[in-house]
Amino acid sequence: MSDTVAAEPVADLLAKFSEATPRESLDHPAVNVPMKDAVAVLQWLRDEQSYDFLVDVTGIDWSETTSPRFTAVWHLFSTTKHTYIRIAADCTDDANPSAPTATGLFPAADWHERETFDLMGITFEGHPDLRRILMWDGYPHHPLRKEFPLAGIETELPDIEVADETQAKVISAPMMGGPFVASNKGEMNLTDAEPRAKDESWNEAKPKPE
C-alpha cells in the first residue's frame, strides 16, 4: 500500500470535517472524529471515497480512571482502491457509553455492533436489534472492560432449572497464578519461552489471599 494514495482521503476528510483530527497509527491512515460526526464521516467515506466495505466495528476501554474512557472504532476498506481507513470516536458518557449505529449504511454493522455492545458495553443508538451475541441474555457484565477480571465473576447459569438441578454456577476460573505468558525479554530461549505463571502467590494448592 502506498502512502500517497492513502493520505489523500485523510486530507480531504480533515478539510471537509473541521473537528476531525489525524490519529496516530502504525499501519493504516486513521482519523479521530467527534461522535456526532461519526455516521456522517462513514457515509461520506462510503459514498464519496468508495470505502464500501465495513471490515470491523470495535471499541477501546482506556481504563476506569481515564476520561473519555471509551472509544468506538470503525475500520473501512475500499474494494476499488484497496486501502483501509480507521475512524475513531470517543464516547462522551463514561458511565453509559453510546455511539450512533452504522447499520443504516452497512448492514454488516449489525453483528459487529452487537459484539461491541456485548463485550464492551457501548450502546449503539438506533440499532434494530441490540442483543448480546456471545454471552447469554441476562449476563450481568461486559467482559472486555478493564475492571472485569480475566478469570470472570461468579454468577448464575443462564438456565435456572439446570442450575437448580446441578447446583452449578458460573465460577471465576482457577487461574493458578496465571495468566500464563512467555518471557518478554526477547531472547529465543525455549525454556523461558514456555508460557508459565509469573505469579505463584496463589494456585490450586494455596488459596487466594483475601
Binding site: M135, F148, G152, P158, V162, T166
Partner: protein, 168 residues
C-alpha cells in the same frame, strides 16, 4: 477317523436350545456391544470423533458406530469439545432426554477440565453438570485414545450389577 470331542462345547443334543448364564451377564452383554453414542461435538475434538468413526479407526469394531443425533436413541454421550456456559444448560438438557441406562465420556482436556480456557466463558469441566464415566486426556485425543475410553467404559458396564439396579 477321529471323532471331535464335543463334551467341552455347547451340545444342543443334550442341552437343547438353552444357554445358561447369569442375567447380569446377559443384560450387560447386550448393553456393552451396541452402545450408541450421542456425538456432542462442540469443538475440534469432534473432528477426531469423526476420524474415530470412519474407516481407518472404525468404531464399528466395538459396536458404537451408530451415532444418534436424537438423545432418546442414544446410550453414551461423547462430549467432544469446549463447553461454554452458554452451551452448558443445553448439554444438560440433552443428557436429561437420553433414556436410562446412559453414560458420558468427557473427550479431551476442555470437556474434562476446561482445558486451556481458564476464562469467564468456559465451563471448567463438564462433570460440573453431568456425571462423567470416562475422561480422555489429550488436546485433542487421538482416535485410539477415544477407542480406549470406549473399551474402558464397556469394561465398566460389564461389571455393573445391572439386575440389582433394575429391581432397586
Amino acid at each position: 477317523m477321529v471323532s471331535p470331542n464335543t463334551d467341552v462345547a455347547f451340545d444342543n443334543k443334550i442341552e437343547g436350545d438353552i444357554v445358561i448364564s447369569r442375567l447380569d451377564a446377559v443384560i450387560n452383554w447386550v448393553r456393552t456391544n451396541s452402545m450408541w453414542p450421542m456425538p456432542m461435538g462442540l469443538a475440534c475434538c469432534a473432528i477426531e470423533l469423526m476420524g474415530t468413526a470412519s474407516a481407518r479407526f472404525d468404531i464399528a469394531r466395538f459396536g458404537a458406530e451408530v451415532m444418534r443425533f436424537s438423545p432418546r436413541q442414544a446410550d453414551c454421550m461423547i462430549v467432544a469439545g469446549t463447553v461454554t456456559y452458554k452451551m452448558a444448560p443445553h448439554v444438560r438438557r440433552i443428557y436429561d432426554q437420553m433414556s436410562e441406562p446412559k453414560w458420558v465420556i468427557a473427550m479431551g482436556a476442555c470437556a474434562s477440565s476446561g482445558g486451556m480456557y481458564r476464562s469467564y466463558a468456559t465451563l471448567q469441566g463438564v462433570d460440573r453438570i453431568v456425571p462423567v464415566d470416562v475422561y480422555v486426556s489429550g488436546c485433542p485425543p487421538r482416535p485410539e485414545a477415544l477407542l480406549d475410553a470406549l473399551i474402558k467404559l464397556q469394561d465398566k458396564v460389564k461389571k455393573t450389577p445391572s439386575l440389582r439396579n433394575l429391581t432397586a
